[in-house]
């Protein structure tokens, strides 16, 4: 029998970006808020202190800040005919755990999506006709448009303290920014970071080709900054330990640097760590949640009653909890019916490495969000009908780090060890750069999430099963980007050039790291039979459950998801504050 704790107004599952945002805004509303975090507590000092955190082996290679598969994982297969197997060694994606979530170990790329991406199906149908959409492609509109979200993008950028350069201020094009972006109501709160040699070289080459480079919007502070919560960032020193690490310098935006100390001061806020939520408990009619059951640090089951349940865990875990709790009808890939688990999508990336014997790139000078970007081949710039795919990419270049284990780019054919490897390292370390394509990934009937029929976790719950594979549409997209990038790269006259893009027939491989941009599974939309959540991230079926995060994306955007995740959290919490709390009910 589970121990029962005192009832709270709000229980939040997960204390990363969205849990922190919801906690802050709902505490400001006067509610009694409890956050449950399955991992450890973490703070800049002592957990990320200099120099201990700059340990590539411990954190970069051995995933010190990531979830441990023995504690939490899922099974993966590529199509309905395969038997899914557990993801026992982290590879393709790296969910975090602990306070701050993945928001502590990210690089900090903080984009807004294009307006067209939020209404993708309508945009495609309107401009190119519904018939260009493949039969198995299940892309949808989000149910919310860019104009509605704009104030919330602005809010998140000011809270997170983003360094960047506007390209479209209230409809006016601004030189040096991204001319293809949707209108912004204000510029970024900080000017862009200074740029490294490769980033500037790329920008020069892009300009010569007639493209429009702009500095990557960065959650790495370009100077000292204080956000609207009074939280502070210090100027980034380009130490090159962003992704997979906590920032030692208060320079990378994270829940810790942007929200948590302000939230912890609130007398109506409490958080418990090592508290893993097993299930959302529903009332007998299934229309509301009564609270959550979690396992505490001592392994004891606890029932935590609450009036409002916010799922703010990582995308995969939000969907898993919904499946385990019976929130929304599970998706059936054969009939297309059901909503929970529907439209899992990923990111379609590729890149070209360029080696220059005579250029010293000083790769130890890097920042997670350093770099220039072009959007000349982004979603709103491509004729889908003419090119034969739906989607797009941003293309970018810039050094994130020059770490000695994982950032030793070498020409193909170099031996992997021994004297040949050593001499190649000597010859090429610091003499290469890369240009990457970061592309959209559409949703498909057979890419989805459900409960695994075989494997269970340590609590006896079925693991979640991911069924995912690359599809021709997205491969055509990335091959198109390969062509554009190689033209650009050739114009820079490298001594050696080598590309890595998925080609026709490519199968999803969970071993090499690709990106931790897993999206969908609890998608938002405007029809209850097509999405798990309404436009306010509220469960259609259980109205006092709101689900934050990239699980709401109906397909993946061409950009990194955090800017959109942050804006959606502010959008949803505004609806909760203004509309839901005065009269709790389904908002749509």
């Amino acid at each position: 029998m589970a121990r029962q704790e005192k009832k709270r107004d709000v229980v939040i599952v997960g204390l990363g970006w969205t849990g922190s945002i919801l906690g802050m805004e709902l505490c400001n509303e006067g509610l009694d808020v409890l956050a449950l975090e399955r991992g450890e507590d973490r703070d800049t000092v002592p957990d990320w202190k200099y120099p201990n955190v700059a340990d590539e082996l411990k954190y970069g290679v051995r995933y010190g800040f990531m979830q441990k598969p023995r504690n939490s994982t899922l099974t993966i297969r590529r199509d309905l005919s395969e038997t899914a197997l557990p993801y026992r060694h982290l590879g393709s994606f790296l969910p975090g755990d602990g306070v701050g979530g993945a928001g502590m170990h990210w690089n900090g790329h903080t984009f807004r999506p294009m307006a067209e991406e939020l209404e993708l199906r309508s945009y495609v149908e309107r401009n190119f006709g519904a018939d260009i959409i493949p039969d198995d492609m299940t892309i949808q509109d989000w149910g919310v448009n860019y104009a509605e979200l704009e104030p919330y993008f602005d809010r998140f950028e000011k809270i997170a303290g983003i360094s960047g350069k506007a390209g479209n201020l209230n409809g006016e094009t601004v030189e040096g920014g991204n001319p293809f972006e949707a209108p912004r109501s204000s510029d970024y709160p900080m000017p862009p970071l200074d740029q490294t040699v490769d980033s500037n070289k790329f920008a020069d080459a892009a300009r010569k080709m007639g493209y429009h480079p702009y500095p990557r919007p960065a959650a790495n502070a370009s100077r000292a900054y204080t956000n609207p919560y009074g939280m502070q960032l210090g100027p980034c020193n380009f130490c090159g330990f962003c992704e997979r690490y906590g920032c030692l310098n208060y320079s990378k935006s994270s829940p810790q640097t942007c929200i948590l100390d302000a939230l912890k001061r609130k007398p109506n806020f409490e958080y418990r760590t090592n508290a893993e939520v097993l299930k959302v408990e529903l009332a007998s009619d299934g229309k509301t949640a009564k609270g959550v059951t979690y396992v505490d640090a001592n392994g004891e089951e606890v029932f935590q009653p609450a009036d409002l349940v916010i799922l703010a865990a990582y995308q995969l875990h939000n969907v898993h909890l919904m499946l385990l709790s019976g929130i929304g009808q599970p998706y059936n890939p054969r009939t297309g019916e059901g909503v929970t688990g529907k439209n899992y999508a990923y990111q379609t990336n590729g890149g070209t490495a360029l080696f220059f014997k005579d250029i010293d790139f000083n790769p130890f000078v890097g920042a997670g969000s350093n770099g220039h970007v072009i959007d000349d081949f982004a979603i709103n710039q491509i004729d889908f009908a003419a090119e034969g795919f739906i989607g797009g990419s941003y293309i970018s270049s810039g050094t994130f780090n020059g770490q000695p284990i994982r950032s030793m780019r070498l020409p193909a054919g170099t031996p992997k060890w021994g004297a040949g490897w050593k001499s190649a390292i000597k010859e090429w370390y610091g003499h290469s750069m890369s240009i990457g394509s970061h592309g959209s990934n559409m949703s498909y009937q057979s890419n989805y999430l459900d409960l695994d029929p075989t494997y269970k976790d340590k609590h006896g719950r079925p693991l979640m099963r991911m069924t995912f594979n690359w599809k021709d549409n997205d491969i055509r997209m990335t091959q198109f980007m390969k062509g554009r990038i190689e033209e650009l790269a050739k114009s820079m006259n490298p001594d050696i050039m080598q590309s890595g893009y998925k080609s026709k027939g490519a199968m999803y491989d969970v071993r090499p790291y690709q990106t931790t941009h897993n999206v969908g599974g609890a998608i938002m939309g405007s029809e209850p039979n097509k999405s798990a959540l309404n436009r306010y991230l509220q469960s259609w079926d259980v109205h006092n459950v709101f689900v934050m995060g990239a699980s709401a994306f109906p397909q993946n955007i061409q950009y990194n998801p955090t800017g959109t995740v942050g804006a959606l959290a502010y959008w949803a919490v505004d609806a909760i504050r203004k509309d839901y709390l005065p009269n709790p009910r389904p908002l749509v």
């Binding site: 200074d194 000292a224 900054y225 204080t226 009074g230 210090g234 100027p235 130490c239 100390d261």
Partner: protein, 459 residues
């Protein structure tokens, strides 16, 4: 018996009688400085506010202990003094105190049974309190604080300091009149002086001690007034005179430092962390303005009205160009010997400079200016250049953490480097920052470091 022997005997008897009187006759208690009606009632919340500004909680609460239950160790030159339980518990706290008993503790440092409190309790300063504030404070402790029935540890100093009757002699010499005179024709300055001298008891740390260990200087007329003191191994910088923070900082910077523990020059460390975290951040905007105005006034600076001071809650302080470009790579900024030495990145540079690049430069930069409100400047920093290097050494050894305040909630921390630097290395590094840029302070030795390392982390 001859006359001389008689005289000696008489003097001896007289001495014994005087001593007996000192020991056994209760000390007289100072009367209220003004009379208030018996039914006087302070405004709601005022008692707690006075408690905050008087910072009672910081000393009378042990690390992780119950509020006001005492048990915090106060290190003094004479040994460890344990703060007492001041909750309204009748047995272990002050629940049995009458108003007069309470005032006697605040004004005269005397417990109801006549026992003298050690002057670690700053009754030298609290005797400046207005009767209204005494009453408000009394009501607060009796009615709003939860009683804690736990005895605080007994203070047990070595002889002769365990002979508390001796404090009575000290009181005769050290204590002035009760109450605080209004010396100015300006209500803001009088309020500021009252808060600084009385409730805020700034002089308890920031004034030097005279030959009998009393606070030197009573008003801004005296040159010793707030001229800087030493607490353990830490300096409490001068607040008075050329080069002192109130003399060289803007009113906004001074207010930011006092209310948030950080500004564009510096950040609090050591004991001041608690003063800001437990006390000063709670000062009203008017009182903060009064304190700042007064501190600047005694340093010859005028200050505008409260409306002239930036509202820190909305002043993001984000306009200063303190990007890494401005701090480290703008060629125009690469002037000065220290900056050039660091920016040269010459492997042959002296050890102190090399250690600075390896350990400090990421936040404090080659120009030693840090970053606005986040990383304190080292160039010209009072803690760095103090004659008492202990505070600087302590921060490098053990790190420091800013307090969380309403306007600046982030507990920005510098990690300790004691596990990474030997005594010799730390001394080289400390000497480098004490003598880099415009700094010109004495060298630190490995022995200085070893002593503080052995003493451990005390706060």
């Amino acid at each position: 018996m001859n006359k001389f022997a008689k005289l000696v005997a008489a003097l001896l008897v007289l001495g014994i009688v005087v001593l007996a009187l000192i020991i056994f006759v209760p000390a007289s208690r100072t009367a209220p400085v003004s009379s208030l009606p018996a039914n006087f009632k302070a405004a709601e919340g005022h008692g707690e506010y006075v408690m905050r500004l008087a910072d009672c909680k910081a000393c009378h609460t042990a690390e992780g202990g119950k509020p006001f239950a005492g048990g915090r160790a106060i290190e003094s030159p004479f040994g460890t003094i344990w703060s007492t339980n001041i909750t309204p518990d009748p047995k272990n706290g002050i629940g049995g105190y009458s108003l007069d008993d309470f005032r006697a503790a605040l004004y005269d440092g005397i417990e109801p049974d006549g026992t003298h409190l050690y002057p670690a309790m700053p009754y030298e300063n609290y005797r400046n309190l207005k009767e209204e504030d005494v009453r408000a404070l009394y009501d607060y402790f009796m009615n709003e604080v939860a009683p804690v029935s736990e005895a605080a540890p007994e203070t047990d100093l070595a002889f002769p300091f365990n002979q508390r009757w001796g404090i009575r002699l000290w009181n005769w010499l050290a204590l002035g009149d009760a109450g605080h005179p209004d010396l100015y024709d300006d209500a803001v300055l009088n309020r500021g002086a009252y808060l600084i001298d009385g409730v805020g008891h700034c002089a308890a740390c920031h004034s030097p001690r005279n030959t009998i260990f009393a606070q030197a200087g009573e008003t801004a007329e005296d040159s010793d007034y707030l001229a800087g003191g030493v607490i353990g191994n830490w300096p409490a910088p001068s607040l008075y005179g050329k080069g002192s923070a109130p003399e060289k900082w803007s009113a906004n910077d001074l207010a930011a430092y006092l209310s948030t523990g950080r500004n564009s020059h510096s950040a609090v460390a050591g004991e001041m962390t608690q003063v800001v975290g437990e006390s000063l951040q709670y000062a009203s905007d008017e009182d903060m303005h009064a304190m700042v105005t007064y501190l600047r006034h005694i340093n010859g600076k005028t200050t505008g009205g409260p409306d002239q001071m930036t509202n820190l809650a909305t002043d993001a302080g984000n306009d200063a160009d303190n990007s890494i470009a401005a701090a480290s790579s703008k060629r125009a900024d690469l002037s000065g010997e220290t900056v050039q030495l660091l920016a040269s990145a010459d492997p042959a540079m002296p050890l102190g400079a090399r250690l600075y690049l390896d350990n400090c430069n990421a936040c404090h930069f080659v120009n030693g200016k840090g970053a606005h409100g986040v990383f304190p400047a080292l160039d010209g920093n009072a803690l760095v250049v103090s004659d008492t290097a202990g505070g600087l050494i302590d921060v490098i050894l053990h790190g420091a953490r800013m307090p969380s305040t309403d306007k600046r909630p982030e507990r920005l921390a510098m990690p300790g480097f004691g596990d990474r630097l030997s005594d010799e290395e730390l001394a080289e590094l400390a000497t480098f920052v004490r003598q880099g840029w415009s700094n010109d302070a004495s060298a630190v030795t490995a022995d200085d470091v070893a002593e503080l390392r052995a003493a451990g982390f005390a706060h």
